[in-house]
């Protein structure tokens, strides 16, 4: 482990470490604190410029229940989950296969395909609005969850392939070779050798992808019309208000919407921050 672990150091060292850590965490979370306080304010407070002071009255319960009352937020929440989870799974499956092939197979055009996957990431996505909308219409998946799942999977596959190829490339080739000599099929090698070894990378990527797709707003706006496929991000913005932005509701909604990705991070972090890791199996 680097740097030197301090869990066996003296209490004084640990104390200093924690002091610095929590002091920095406090500064780091200051903006978040601002959002949290805003989510408890009254609109009158916001409009009179009381952004940072003590709220004149607390509207905690009122604001958070309003988020659920004003729009079918539970339906949107459900939609978000059933858009995000399939997309993350599909993306990881496709890109780990592609990443393995690009890292460990020798064939003509290998590097070119890799370059293409990277390049595809670099287009500012909004410009694809009209072609992607038309394609979605043609496929008959406009205004459905599947339409969003397909697009997100396609668009994220490029980045994930790039991400995973790097990790797979770092794996010692002998592992793959010896499995092949033992008579394992290529799929077997992928399934039993590669996947377990890149588990940390997969877990980290799952968290990142979950967050990206969960937070998508633009594509949901373009590819969804009704309530049946609408994700939570769109639902929250609909609380905004026509002229006067109800920032207290948007803040409350955003905090609620931010919880699933944070929970994902909390649950998955043991796979990529501690435990069985890449280095442990390297020669």
């Amino acid at each position: 482990m680097f740097p030197q672990p301090i869990d066996k150091s003296s209490a004084a060292v640990k104390g200093t470490y924690r002091f610095v850590l929590y002091a920095f965490l406090l500064i780091w979370l200051l903006p978040l604190g601002g959002i949290l306080i805003t989510s408890m304010r009254s609109l009158a407070d916001i409009n009179s410029g009381n952004y940072w002071g003590w709220p004149t009255e607390f509207h905690l319960l009122e604001n958070y229940t309003q988020v659920f009352k004003a729009t079918p937020m539970l339906l949107y929440f459900y939609n978000s989950i059933f858009i995000t989870l399939p997309t993350v799974l599909a993306t990881l499956a496709l890109s780990s296969l592609a990443g393995y092939s690009l890292a460990k197979h020798r064939f003509r055009g290998n590097f070119l395909i890799f370059a293409m996957f990277i390049a595809g990431n670099f287009v500012p996505a909004q410009i694809l609005m009209i072609p992607v909308r038309d394609l979605t219409l043609k496929l008959g998946v406009y205004d459905t969850k599947l339409g969003l799942i397909l697009f997100h999977t396609a668009f994220q596959t490029g980045f994930c392939t790039f991400f995973l190829r790097g990790f797979i490339k770092e794996l010692p080739h002998e592992l793959v070779e010896s499995a092949r000599i033992d008579g394992a099929s290529e799929f077997r090698v992928y399934w039993s050798v590669i996947l377990p070894l890149i588990q940390p990378a997969l877990a980290a990527l799952a968290v990142l992808e979950f967050t990206f797709i969960w937070n998508d707003y633009f594509w949901a706006l373009v590819l969804v019309q009704g309530d049946e496929a609408r994700p939570i991000t769109l639902g929250i913005q609909a609380l905004r208000g026509r002229w006067t932005a109800s920032w207290q509701l948007i803040s409350a909604g955003s905090i609620i919407a931010a919880l699933p990705p944070v929970v994902m991070f909390f649950l998955l972090q043991k796979h990529f921050i501690a435990g069985l890791t890449l280095g442990a199996v390297k020669e």
Partner: protein
């Protein structure tokens, strides 16, 4: 793994089934009180009168809706949509994306009931939508601050400048504004130009027929620049949204706000009930009649809608004086239907009077001219309000944009 495949299949199959007799409508007001009104009063009322029709309403964020509508109109639109009459509507009419609803007008005697807003939804003699509500703009001011310095409502531009001078001397900024999102600056331009050059000139300018370097606009920029140079607007207004611009007025650091009537509920909720007054933007040139900005909202039927028959029934229902009156009252706006009851709110009452006596109504800068021209123009106005000394370069830049946009 089986579960995952199951989830996929489930999603594949759950493509929404729309029953005949379902009417899909949008709502872009994104105000939960309005949603409540529609869900609990307007829609049930319609369903009761038209058994067999089920109305489904999708709520949108007002800004995002502008992007969404362009996409769904060409894809699978709902049956009734919100939009804005005038130039914004014409864009979609020209592309064949809105349905002609003249028959709804003919059958329901709307030509006389909606006479004042009729022109805003008429293209080539046909009606393409239903104007629902509109609202006045004007100067909202702190009565208590005016009283403290012995000031009354101005009757002329000279009065207005005297008021500003007095306030300024007493350490109160005359006007608050937040120009971060630009359109508030356009309100000033509209009113100054309407008061100095009148409606026909203004609309010709909006139509791209007149140069922004035209001499007749010099006076507009002189008057406006004079105010900016004297510090009549709050400092750093480009840092604030219109909403953040309310704060100095609520806190008594500024006394007036040129704004639409939608500002009132916020000010009242912030504890200014009874301390707010309204006056019409004062006359600058006595030879020019008074014209106002009064943006009109409307409802339309997309030409690709699936259930047009019921959609027309719905428009006819919404057009009724009682329904329009209810909607307008709840949204703090005026009903387009002249048979609707006169509102009892003091600001709506005076707004109604000002607008009915007006010699002509403009929609608003960003609705009367094309979106691109509006963006360029408003960026210039924002800069001018902060850096009036750059007038020449700014007008040059806007003019270059106009030439390109209107192909001259």
């Amino acid at each position: 793994m089986k579960k995952i495949i199951g989830v996929f299949l489930f999603i594949l199959v759950s493509v929404n089934v729309t029953f005949s007799g379902t009417l899909k409508i949008t709502n872009n007001s994104s105000n939960s009180d309005i949603h409540k009104l529609w869900n609990e009063q307007i829609i049930p009322g319609f369903e009761k009168e038209n058994p067999g029709i089920k109305v489904e309403m999708t709520v949108y964020d007002h800004e995002a809706y502008k992007t969404a509508i362009r996409n769904f109109l060409q894809a699978e639109p709902p049956d009734v949509v919100n939009w804005f009459s005038g130039n914004r509507m014409k864009f979609f009419v020209d592309q064949g994306l809105f349905e002609d609803v003249s028959d709804v007008w003919d059958k329901n005697n709307l030509h006389s009931q909606l006479s004042s807003a009729r022109s805003t939804v008429t293209v080539e003699g046909k009606q393409w939508g239903l104007p629902t509500t509109y609202y006045q703009w004007g100067v909202y001011y702190r009565k208590d601050i005016f009283a403290k310095y012995g000031l009354g409502e101005p009757r002329s531009w000279g009065d207005m400048m005297n008021i500003a001078e007095t306030l300024k001397k007493n350490g109160i900024t005359p006007f608050t504004i937040g120009t971060k999102y630009l359109w508030t600056a356009a309100g000033w331009f509209d009113f100054l130009n309407l008061r100095i050059n009148g409606y026909d000139f203004h609309m010709a300018l909006m139509g791209g027929e007149i140069s922004y370097e035209d001499k007749r606009l010099d006076r507009v920029f002189d008057v406006w620049g004079d105010m900016a140079r004297k510090g009549y607007y709050i400092e750093n207004h480009a840092s604030y949204s219109w909403q953040e611009g309310q704060a100095p007025m609520i806190n008594g650091e500024a006394a007036m706000y040129l704004m639409g009537n939608f500002v009132v509920p916020d000010l009242v909720k912030a504890g200014l009930d009874g301390k707010i007054g309204y006056f019409q933007f004062p006359v600058i040139d006595g030879s020019v009649r008074t014209y106002e900005d009064a943006p009109t909202d409307s409802m339309h039927i997309p030409s690709k809608a699936k259930n047009k028959a019921d959609a027309k029934k719905f428009l006819a229902y919404v057009a009724r004086p009682d329904i329009q009156g209810t909607i307008a009252q709840a949204s703090g706006m005026l009903s387009s239907n002249n048979q609707s009851p006169v509102p009892d709110d003091e600001f709506l009452k005076i707004g109604f009077k000002v607008l009915s006596e007006s010699a002509g109504l403009a929609q608003f800068y960003d609705r009367d001219t094309t979106p691109e021209m509006a963006k360029e123009g408003m960026k210039g106005f924002q800069e001018f309000m902060v850096k009036p000394e750059r007038e020449k370069q700014i007008r040059q830049r806007i003019e270059r944009a106009r030439k390109r946009i209107y192909k001259q």
